[in-house]
Assembly symmetry: C2
Homo-oligomer: 345 residues x 2
DNA sequence: ATTAGCACTCACTTGCGTTGAGTGCTAAAG
DNA sequence: CTTTAGCACTCAACGCAAGTGAGTGCTAAT
């Protein structure tokens, strides 16, 4: 699908896409010649537009309206025509300002980053915290809540904290717990949670005989503590910006979009795609997979500390999204968050 | 404003409110006589309705429409006419089912409870976790993240966990931290966070001379750790149910309501009102304070463990809300959560 | 006190003509 | 061969008028 477009067609396509992104209204041939100083008559532009339509870059909603870009049109625009703006200094500042983390927990930081993403882009901001299972274990603590009920707290290298309540069969004493905690905290750091689990399984199987009772209990306990994948954390911010978009003015589409943004799982699936990739990724319309988010595009980028904790953040908005503005925002924010995670180690 | 309403007027008012809650459409005199077996002609009902309108319980949107309840009408209905249904067993079951907390953190439980509230009521569920400052301190842990950067983890009696990153001036060694942790964990449990802070301030002021260096550092460190109120946590679930309500079909009102539900602070203010009260509280329309939530009612109840941690949960929906169904849901859920918090101790 | 009857009101719907932005086609001009 | 001017055509959107019907308030009869 190379680029069988000559310069003039490209210019016109670019003009249409950009005007449409601004106005959200079908662009007519006259409007083009007026707004941009091509030395062409509307009729010529019409011919070019007819060609672009035939090639699948444009459609007209009805005979007597202007043209709007198709998904393919946007894709071509993003891949070949778009020039990304620099991130304005004010945005850069408020991002750096807002992500100071002194006195905040990592969760707060993630939430705050989501708010910043949405506030600056004026679309909806998404942040998916690193999957806990892939983060590097740093420390574990047990708190005895009541008879037989324990609170387990994990801390990862990157400063993420997770906790859960478990009910092991045995009622450990304060002393036991302390010993177990020490034992585990000396042996486990440096591995990912996944590796830790594997290690525990191996030791329980193969070294049974060489372990004393408490060591065995320690392993069994941490096995239970690590059981069950911890659900991903997604922070969504600025959902109401979505409703401000003219493409979602109908009550129906408003409900649809809000339902989608409410279902964390769908968002996780979406963001997972760009987990592994490097740098900013752009999913335009139905490119964003199986997903139910019709009419939306996603600009996402992974972030990661040097200890391997990988999360994803991004901005979701209508296909008619201001790509040139949002891309640098996402890009910069991702590296910012990476920097924050790194600083922890 | 006593009750200058005779039985017949009451019955008719009740019928109108309940029919309107069901249909969301103005109720006419004929509809009343048809749907309910009062032995009255439409004309009589009309007379009564005119009286009720004069008294401020009803209004008609325009001359040739039926009547709808005013806020005052709802208030009278809720206070004097409403009979609360029992909570259907299926709801009770799914609530009890869903709030099993084994393997979940308290935050997960709160979130889950929000989901249940909204899922069952089909309105929007709110849960405000206990303010951390008012919870009883149980344990503190320090994790050294990097040079000069500490992660502090607090655990409250009720199993709530909070963490934050701080940067004390000094770079404590692992050993120091252990000592400090032990020192604090022996002295502080049993007090609320607020009390702890006070105590620390007093000791630092009055017992300066009697403390060794590490003890002093311990106190200073925990002072910093406790500084700054931790933001309240509000869990909001099922916001899209709001958009399903016929009163919010216009794009404008949809945006308005979503913006409100997005701003945690407004919700906190709202829920704070019922923090101190006992049992289910009902805020109808503008009763729900200064707040911007026009056209909404809130049904809320505080929950609390025996250790004093107090939170609030509730359901928010249109004024035309199914009070008789939602009240028992909120009531039961609040006591359920209280039970969960209690069980921890 | 209640009810039947009746004139009246007014949001809502339907249909119809007008408007205007925009198109595609054709034929002339460069 | 490309570009442009001209023109007939299309069709969503807007506004207006008439018709419809649910519901009311008032009056007079029961």
């Amino acid at each position: 699908m190379g680029a069988p477009l000559n310069d003039r067609s490209q210019n016109i396509l670019e003009a249409i896409v950009e005007d449409y992104i601004r106005t959200a209204e079908p662009i007519g041939s006259r409007a083009i010649t007026k707004r941009h100083a091509f030395d062409l008559s509307p009729a010529t532009v019409r011919n070019v537009m007819a060609d672009l339509e035939e090639m699948g870059f444009l459609v007209s909603p009805h005979t007597s309206a202007g043209r709007i870009p198709t998904e393919k049109g946007y894709q071509y625009y993003v891949e070949s025509l778009l020039q990304v703006n620099d991130l304005p200094a004010e945005f850069r500042n408020s991002l750096e300002e807002g992500s100071r983390f002194d006195g905040k927990s990592m969760e707060n930081v993630m939430q705050e980053v989501g708010n910043l993403l949405s506030g600056i882009s004026r679309y909806t901001g998404l942040v998916m915290a690193p999957r806990f299972n892939s983060t590097v274990f740093r420390q574990i603590e047990f708190v005895r809540l009541s008879k037989g009920r324990l609170l387990v707290i994990f801390v990862s290298e990157s400063g993420l904290v997770q906790n859960k309540v478990i009910e092991p069969g045995i009622d450990f004493s304060h002393r036991d717990l302390e010993t177990i905690t020490n034992y585990l905290n000396h042996r486990l750091p440096g591995m990912t949670i996944a590796q830790v689990r594997e290690r525990i399984a191996v030791e329980l199987r193969e070294e049974q005989s060489r372990l004393n009772k408490l060591q065995k209990q320690a392993l069994e306990l941490s096995d239970q503590a690590l059981q069950g994948d911890v659900a991903e954390q997604v922070y969504v911010a600025g959902t109401s910006h979505m409703l401000e978009q003219p493409e979602f003015t109908s009550p129906d589409s408003m409900m649809k979009i809000m339902r989608t943004l409410e279902s964390k799982q769908q968002l996780i699936d979406l963001l997972d795609c760009s987990q592994t990739a490097r740098g900013v990724q752009i999913f335009i319309g139905s490119q964003s997979a199986h997903s139910e988010i019709e009419g939306c595009s996603l600009i996402a980028a992974p972030f990661s500390g040097n200890k391997g904790a990988v999360g994803t953040l991004g901005v979701i908005g209508p296909i008619r999204m201001n790509y040139s503005q949002v891309i640098p925002i996402v890009d910069f924010t991702a590296s910012l968050v990476s920097r924050i995670l790194d600083r922890e180690s």
